[in-house]
Amino acid sequence: MALIRVQEAPFDLAAESAALTAGRDDVGGLASFVGLCRADDGLAALVLEHYPGMTERALAEIAAQAEARWPLTGCTVIHRHGRILPGQPIVLVLTASRHRTAALEACAFLIDWLKTGAPFWKHEEFADGTTRWVAARSSDDAAAAKWG
């Protein structure tokens, strides 16, 4: 069972990594991905909206798919919502396995599916006071679809 959290607060990569491998000696590889807020086009802040209840459910389903597909010893997905400033972390994916290939592939799979399969919406606020909703990109759909 993967650890799934949807929260406003920042997360601690080192603490989450340690928790995933604590007390085990069968983990040969731990892959991690941290998605950060980029300051493109004068972005001042990103506000992430989500669908409470469905978000946790969708993330758990995506993680369960990864666990069915790769022999993972552990999996953590933490996705933030609310107001996030440039440079701050948005999402954390950790996958642990006996071998590196499973950990790395499962991590890439989860990142690709998070973009298209979890009910989050990004609203951008710019330094000049304008705002806009981030549009979904077809390249993200293609990245998720390549996993079949």
Binding site: E49, Y51, M54, A58, V91, K115, T116, P119, F120, W133
Partner: protein, 83 residues
Amino acid sequence: MQVLYFAWVRQRIGLGAERVDPPAEVADVAGLMQWLAGRSPGHASAFAEAGQIRCAVNQAFCGPEHPVRAGDEVAFFPPVTGG
């Protein structure tokens, strides 16, 4: 039936959630969208871009042909942009 709106769909409609009681002939998501569009100018403006709106019934993504019935939680939103 509980209907939820997110992102620009919520902004245009001016509501995050509302309880509605559509007539019996509203049997699927497409029919519900059409019926909701008649509730206010904000609804009409949001649902005018039907091709840009995605849906979930009872917290599972679905298409416009998915049936809806009394007691369902139905959500409308733009394509998701998480990660």
